[in-house]
């Protein structure tokens, strides 16, 4: 039973008729089997039909690579219909990555030189789409010949093929440069259009070509002028404008030629002004030309008047009711705002109106532009607008809007209070979308504004009482309440209504934050520390606080547990120090490096580590030395807090140098170990403070006699409880009366602090004798081993 193969139209019908994906696949697979069979042994006359069907199937996404060889056969066939489908297939199925594409080169070459025009057109089209660099180089002579043929049909295609060749093989640009001047004198619009593209490509590739083509600027200007001033020409006019595509292309080329080049820009000025004023913008075509003109004016070195004209045109665009035009205007204004800030400012009200667009791309553009337009004079009004926008803007713009507002507020804030208000407002509206360092910034800002402490804490308290779900807000509020709780209780802030708050209410609120499942672990940590601080700020007894703190001593979260246990210890054993530790925080420097507090308690403060990584160690407050090991070896500055972590809860004082560890290493005196005939051996000692068991000895051998010391070796021995390591000496010769001694380093490990005894053995040649000395160093200073 032979199922006859379908015509393309029937195939399409059948595929459309398939109700499910599986059915469609079935139809296609059946058809592909037919196609494969017919490729193998079918009628050559029908081949192009088969390939056409295959191409359709390919477009739907099914594999069609078995058709590649068929394309080649069809291209080689003399019939036009075959060639047509074959070339189409080549364009769709073949590309540089498959080796088969090189096989077409020969067919293309034949077609280009001998075929008649449509065939040449086909070949050029295919070559320009999928020609690889090698193919291009092979076919350059043919294409060049076609560039100068009389028929415009082929010429325009040849020109664009040349563009493709230059892109693939830049060295060919020298071949295609000379014909351009001649091509520019043509009248055929198709040729002109493509020539513009070719010249644009040449200029973009090489600066030398750019300089060459600057000479043709007058010619281009002339062509454009003719286009603009001639009346209606039926051939090319679109919506009453003569050939807008050509105009746009010429303008683009003028832009490239005039960029940063005074002379050419001057030549263009008049023309640009003329185009800008004469173009009819009631239809889209005119607007397209105007848009391109504006872009060109912005890029070249144009006269100031022209730039103002450009900005005004854009302003007019903004008021247009067509969305596309508004979009285009906003994009260009964004590019202009850096260079012509003043001119764009005049259109600020319109831009702000555009914020209210329902269209996402438009409102995004308007947002960026508004943020760029904020400056010190209009900051209050603009931020107000932007805050209003924040309330109803789509979710994906919220983060950008919030960070933009915060940034602008930082740069242009007229007063601290306004700044704090603005940040507060942003946090309450979109707290979850702000960047992580906003919390740290706000805390730093509040801390720095002494006069606003009372005000901020009152406002933060009311905000917190309303809503504990916005994490950044909760964190900042907890910190403030902890720091300035006493100011909150006094409640006499002159700038807001007086707030009467009881201690119990504040504690209850903080506990609520601690227990809420909405709170992040970091937030809980803030709240716990704030509670602790309040134990000194509030006057009532601290039972409630102590209770909470001890409950959290067995919390599952390790960070909270550690804090709670430490605070508990603070209550139990170090109550006398609590007030000092929990004093007000000093102002944190920007960037997170911390400043040492001025009024430290000396000698007895315990380091409560606030490691970012949870260290599950119970602080044994009595064993201060063990705590030392939790530090890394630096002199007590804790590392900069990473942005997600809260800055230190305010209770923690830096480690002071404890008396038992030597602060700077005490200098141990050198000792002279040996002297004979001018040869001297000197020992110098270093005990690094972080490894008290280690002793480094540098042995220096000097020679003040008249004879050289050669073959010098030094060996050492120590008691069994110590470990000795000798490093290689710097040399084995000390010239006479030299200042270049031999140095050698000994490392001695003395963990048990046993008394140090050192025996040395020297061998060397001096003054014609070989000397060997063995002795014990008996004037070692006590500090070397105690």
């Amino acid at each position: 039973m032979v199922v006859t193969s379908l015509k393309l139209q029937d195939l399409i019908e059948e595929i459309r008729g398939a109700k499910t994906q599986a059915q469609e696949r079935e139809v296609i697979q059946r058809e592909c089997a037919h196609i494969r069979a017919s490729f193998r042994d079918g009628d050559p006359a029908q081949r192009h039909r088969q390939l056409a069907k295959l191409l359709y199937v390919h477009m739907l996404g099914y594999p069609a690579h078995f058709g590649q060889m068929e394309c080649l056969k069809l291209i080689a066939s003399p019939r036009f219909t075959d060639k047509r489908v074959g070339y189409l297939g080549a364009m769709l199925l073949l590309d540089e990555r498959h080796d088969a594409h090189l096989l077409i080169t020969n067919s293309i070459k034949n077609d280009l030189s001998q075929g008649f025009q449509p065939v040449q057109g086909l070949a050029l089209c295919t070559l320009s789409t999928m020609g690889s660099a090698d193919m291009c180089r092979d076919l350059v002579p043919e294409v060049e010949k076609l560039l100068l043929q009389p028929s415009p049909y082929v010429r325009k295609k040849a020109i664009l093929t040349a563009v493709h060749m230059i892109r693939k093989a830049p060295e060919l640009s020298s071949v295609f440069l000379p014909p351009c001047t001649q091509l520019l004198q043509e009248h055929h619009h198709g040729i002109l259009l493509t020539t513009m593209t070719l010249i644009t490509e040449l200029c973009e590739q090489s600066p030398a070509a750019l300089r060459h083509f600057r000479k043709v600027v007058p010619q281009l200007v002339q062509i454009l002028r003719t286009l603009v001033t001639t009346g209606y020409s039926a051939e090319h006019s679109i919506a009453g404008v003569s050939d807008p595509f050509l105009q746009v292309q010429i303008l683009r080329l003028l832009r490239i030629l005039g960029r940063s080049h005074e002379e050419s820009s001057e030549a263009m000025n008049d023309l640009l002004a003329q185009v800008a004023t004469n173009t009819d913008t009631s239809r889209n075509a005119g607007s397209a030309i105007l848009f391109e003109t504006v872009l060109t004016i912005m890029d070249i070195r144009s006269a100031a008047g022209l730039r103002v004209l450009a900005v005004n045109i854009l302003g007019r665009f903004l008021l247009n009711s067509d969305k596309n035009i508004r979009y285009v205007a906003l994009t260009s204004l964004l590019r202009l705002v850096q260079s012509d800030h003043g001119a764009v400012q005049r259109h600020r009200p319109t831009v702000v109106e555009c914020l209210q667009e329902t269209d996402a791309s438009l409102s995004r553009r308007a947002l960026e532009l508004s943020l760029a337009l904020v400056n010190s004079s209009n900051v209050r009004a603009m931020i107000r607008e932007l805050q209003a926008f924040l309330e109803y803007c789509p979710p994906d713009l919220r983060a950008d809007c919030a960070s933009g507002i915060l940034l602008a507020a930082e740069r242009f804030a007229p007063s601290k209070r306004w700044h704090i208000d603005t940040i507060l407002h942003v946090l309450t509206t979109v707290g979850t979308h702000v960047r992580d360092d906003a919390v740290a910034n706000l805390i730093q800002l509040i801390g720095g504004a002494r006069e606003l402490h009372a005000y901020s804490v009152c406002r933060l308290y009311s905000a917190l009482a309303n809503d504990i779900s916005q994490q950044p807000l909760v964190q900042v509020a907890a910190w403030c309440i902890g720091e300035f709780g006493d100011l909150l209780l006094e409640g006499n802030c002159e700038e807001t209504e007086p707030l009467q708050v009881e201690e119990e209410e504040v504690l209850a609120l903080l506990e609520k934050v601690l227990q809420s499942h909405l709170s992040l672990p970091a937030t809980r940590a803030y709240a716990l520390t704030a509670l602790m601080k309040l134990s000194t700020r509030f006057r009532g007894d601290n039972n409630r606080i102590r209770q909470v703190v001890s409950i959290y001593g067995s919390c599952v979260d390790v960070e909270l547990q550690q804090r709670a246990v430490e605070y508990n210890t603070l209550f139990r054993k170090y109550d006398h120090m609590r007030a000092a530790i929990l004093e007000r925080m000093p102002l944190v420097e920007r960037g997170g490096t911390r400043v040492e507090e001025e009024e430290k308690e000396s000698n007895k403060a315990a380091q409560l580590s606030e490691a970012a990584a949870p260290v599950p160690a119970e602080p044994q407050a009595s064993k201060l030395l063990d705590l030392l090991h939790l530090l890394d070896g630096s002199s007590g500055e804790a590392p900069c807090p990473p942005p997600q972590d809260p800055p230190p809860g305010g209770t923690l004082v830096h480690l002071l140098d404890l008396p038992c560890a030597p602060a700077p290493p005490a200098a141990i005196p050198d000792c002279k170990a040996f002297e004979r005939d001018g040869v001297q051996l000197n020992l110098s000692f270093i005990r690094p403070p972080e490894t008290p068991a280690l002793l480094l000895i540098t042995v220096t051998t000097t020679n003040s006699s008249g004879g050289d010391v050669t073959h010098f070796t030094c060996q050492a021995a120590v008691p069994k409880s110590l470990q000795l390591q000798l490093q290689a000496p710097s040399g084995d010769t000390v010239p006479a009366r030299s200042s270049l001694p031999i140095t050698q380093l000994f490392r001695i490990l003395n963990p048990n602090k046993a008394p140090l005894r050192l025996k040395l053995r020297l061998t060397y040649h001096h003054l014609g004798q070989s000397v060997q000395e063995t002795f014990e160093v008996n004037n070692l200073p006590v500090e070397t081993w105690q």
Binding site: L8, Q9, I12, A52, L55, Y56, M59, L60, G61, P63, F80, T81, R84, L88, D95, E96, R97, P118, G121, C125, S128, T129, M130, Y153, K156, K157, L160, T161, V163, H164, G190, L193, T194, E235, H236, I238, D243, P244, F245, V248, Q249, R252, N284, A285, S287, A288, F291, E292, L295, K323, N324, I325, R326, Y327, V328, T358, D359, A360, S361, L362
Partner: protein, 145 residues
Amino acid sequence: MIKFFLMVNKQGQTRLSKYYEHVEINKRTLLETEVIKSCLSRSNEQCSFIEYKDFKLIYRQYAALFIVVGVNDTENEMAIYEFIHNFVEVLDEYFSRVVSLFNIMFNLDKVHIILDEMVLNGCIVETNRTRILAPLLILDKMSES
């Protein structure tokens, strides 16, 4: 430079696709689905230009057919917008009633020929209707005879 040219129906099925910069076959379907989704989800009042990855998409709707063109940054969006309309007018003249999709679908090869006459390697070649259709009309006459 035009990166790709798509004609899609309202259900999201591709009716014509032409890529001027090579894209892998399996990536093509993905690209087309995403592009279509962003175009279909827009309402009438929104503007016709979308930013998608590093392309700009310009689309126009004609009854049940969407034409989407992806360009790179250097192109003038409004000119391309105009070009889409030009293309549709050419199709209109040739098929005498293009808005019916069937004409396009069943004569896909002819539509490819027209598109090839108008765009070569991502650049616009010819926008004059008569000149574009001339070779096609000759071809038709030849195949009839």
